[in-house]
């Protein structure tokens, strides 16, 4: 802001002695954003982000009929009701099962494909890459009708396997691209060194590559899980029986009820959010780096 602060920041991006760097941080460069220009818009946006979440929590925790803006006295009746009477315990299990199997299928298939893309040149590589990119533009919602026919022919309608397959297929392209990006970041020379030491390709992969891939795999696996946990359409269309349904479909039946029980609806919403919140708290630190390493660099 003053002449002095510009003078302390030398031209060029070279390393400055630590004392200068520390002083610079304290005084701030002349073009640094004033604090209020960060806190004010961010605060407004946080309000927009958090009020809806608060509203859901509020309705799930306060007794029916209460109009208080603080969930006090707190009650867990809504949760009990949704969990037991509205069979959310069953939906929860179904969703978890489908989510875990989608996670396993997606990461295994994508790991193999990603390794091939990262480490080999082969004739149809370009075609395969192009197909992966193009399939990103293919709308799952528009594929419902033919997919329904296929699963019907395979007698998989009403089986969770149909949902696992559909979720996996639509998760695959992005997962393969992400994983191959992560594998490219593992130096090939490390793998070769393991071969020289007598490892087979598979052993070298398991001992050298896999441990370094862990953050990337966790990110891709979490996306697959969260995506299938959240996705509604495939389960709604391919699963007929109510006891086979998943959490989002269960929620939508609460919405569709003639007289909406808002407490139950909010409690169902909270239940559906819990696993996702846990997963995201867990992968938070890899989220941004994962994206920049895998997706953006390609």
């Amino acid at each position: 802001m003053t002449e002095k602060s510009t003078a302390t920041a030398p031209a060029g991006g070279g390393r400055r002695p630590p004392s200068v760097r520390r002083r610079r941080r304290r005084e701030r460069a002349f073009d640094e954003v004033p604090r209020w220009q960060i806190y004010l818009p961010l605060g407004l946006y946080l309000l927009f982000t958090l009020v809806p979440f608060y509203w859901m929590l509020l309705f799930s925790l306060r007794p029916a009929g209460s109009t208080s803006l603080v969930p006090w006295p707190m009650t867990f009746d809504h949760f009990e009701k949704v969990w037991n009477d509205r069979s959310f315990s069953v939906f929860f299990q179904n969703s978890a099962l489908i989510g875990v199997f989608t996670l396993i299928c997606t990461t295994t298939v994508a790991l193999a494909g990603g390794y091939a893309l990262a480490r080999f040149n082969f004739r149809i590589k370009q075609t395969f890459m192009l197909a992966l990119l193009c399939s990103q533009f293919i709308p799952g919602a528009l594929m419902l009708v033919p997919l329904f026919q296929i699963f019907k022919n395979l007698s998989l309608i009403n089986s969770p396997l149909s949902v696992v397959i559909a979720e996996t297929v639509f998760q695959l392209p992005l997962s393969i691209i992400l994983i191959s990006g992560f594998i490219k970041n593992v130096p090939y020379s490390l793998e070769e060194a393991a071969w020289v030491d007598g490892c087979s390709r598979l052993q070298a992969f398991r001992i050298v590559v896999l441990p370094m891939l862990r953050p990337g795999l966790i990110a891709v696996g979490s996306f697959a899980f969260v995506h299938s946990w959240n996705h509604f359409l495939f389960a709604l269309m391919f699963l007929m029986d109510q006891d086979k349904q998943t959490i989002p479909v269960g929620l939508s039946t609460l919405i569709g009820a003639d007289s909406v029980d808002f407490g139950a609806l909010a409690a169902g919403g909270v239940i559906s959010a819990v696993p996702v919140v846990i997963v995201f708290a867990f992968i938070q630190k890899w989220l941004i780096t994962g994206f920049s390493a895998g997706a953006v660099k390609g």
Partner: protein, 318 residues
């Protein structure tokens, strides 16, 4: 061998006779291995993406209606004639889709960009702010619906409390009014969609070398000039790609609208994919639904190619 983390893959065919390192004991020749590795992915994608796509084209030429089986059979282009000449619902849903995609993507991009620039600054509580700001991104369409139904409902929503405090009046639900339902749905989807852009743009912002800004500020460029001459050009490709992906995603997004508005009131929030789903699964008119799908495909493909051409994606730029 030199460290080779980018550029040509090291598994590239090497000159015959040159010394190569090779893993032993796989039992599979390295020539066949990549094909074996991509085989599961290819099989799944052929079986559940390519084949259904082809069958969409096949069914679109058929009369295939579960409620009128006696009329089923080859229909030629009749379904398409019906779409373009006899079906006002198709045009309405197409117009709404266009309006929906355009509004959502522009607003999400603008807000996401601002948000990314904000949380890219250093300030106290940045990590917590990032986590909170990004959180709706992980929320499903149905959960978004659940939350916004609570907020919009005249007896449980924010409006009631504002009215109690003397701001505004008790009203009917914004979702049952054809005039307000569009913006109500847009707001709910914005809540969930902005973080997507913010995350992608933030990831890209972090790859801009800080030297550039330092050099620019030494040369006397203010923050706005730095933004337009360094930040924006650098983000260009990421923005083009993410807007395209997001546009396709918003076009296909059925979860939110199906549960929030059910396409109503009076069909004013029925997108084309929603119309397809209703035609296929409620009217059981598979032939007509797949013909609608084909048309939607064609429109989406045409718009994507046009967009990539016009935006000169990956082309020369500074």
């Amino acid at each position: 061998m030199a460290q080779d983390s980018s550029g040509a893959p090291p598994g590239a065919p090497k000159k015959p006779g040159s010394r190569t390192t090779r893993a032993k004991g796989t039992g599979i020749s390295p020539r066949r291995l990549p094909y074996l590795l991509i085989a599961p992915a290819v099989l799944l994608m052929v079986g559940f993406i390519a084949y259904p796509m082809l069958s969409v084209f096949y069914y679109s030429l058929q009369n295939y209606n579960a409620t009128k089986p006696w009329r089923n059979g080859f229909a030629g282009l009749d379904n398409f004639r019906r779409i373009f000449t006899e079906d006002p619902l198709f045009w309405d849903s197409l117009v709404f889709s266009g309006k929906w995609v355009f509004t959502e993507v522009t607003l999400q991009l603008a807000l996401g960009l601002i948000l990314a620039l904000l949380v890219n600054q250093t300030f106290v509580g940045r990590a917590a702010a990032r986590a909170m700001v990004f959180s709706p991104w992980a929320v499903s369409g149905v959960l978004t619906t659940t939350i916004w139904l609570l907020l919009y409902n005249p007896s449980t929503g924010v409006g009631r409390y504002l009215a109690d405090a003397g701001i505004g009046t008790y009203g009917s639900s914004v979702l049952s009014d054809t005039g307000t339902v569009f913006w109500a749905a847009v707001l709910a989807e914005l809540w969930r969609g902005v973080p997507f852009f913010a995350i992608l743009i933030l990831a890209d912002l972090q790859s801009i070398p800080g030297d550039l800004y330092e050099a620019a500020s030494v040369d006397g460029a203010n923050r706005f000039r730095q933004f337009f001459h360094i930040t924006l050009p650098h983000l260009r490709d990421a923005i083009i790609l993410s807007t395209l992906l997001r546009a396709v995603w918003e076009f296909n997004n059925v979860d939110l609208l199906l549960t929030l508005t059910e396409g109503g009131p009076a069909g004013v929030t029925t997108t084309l994919p929603l119309y397809v789903a209703v035609t296929g699964f409620e009217a059981h008119d598979f032939g007509y639904a797949t013909a609608l799908t084909t048309v939607a495909f064609a429109i989406l493909l045409f718009c994507s190619i046009l967009y990539l051409r016009l935006s000169k994606f990956g082309g020369d730029h500074k």
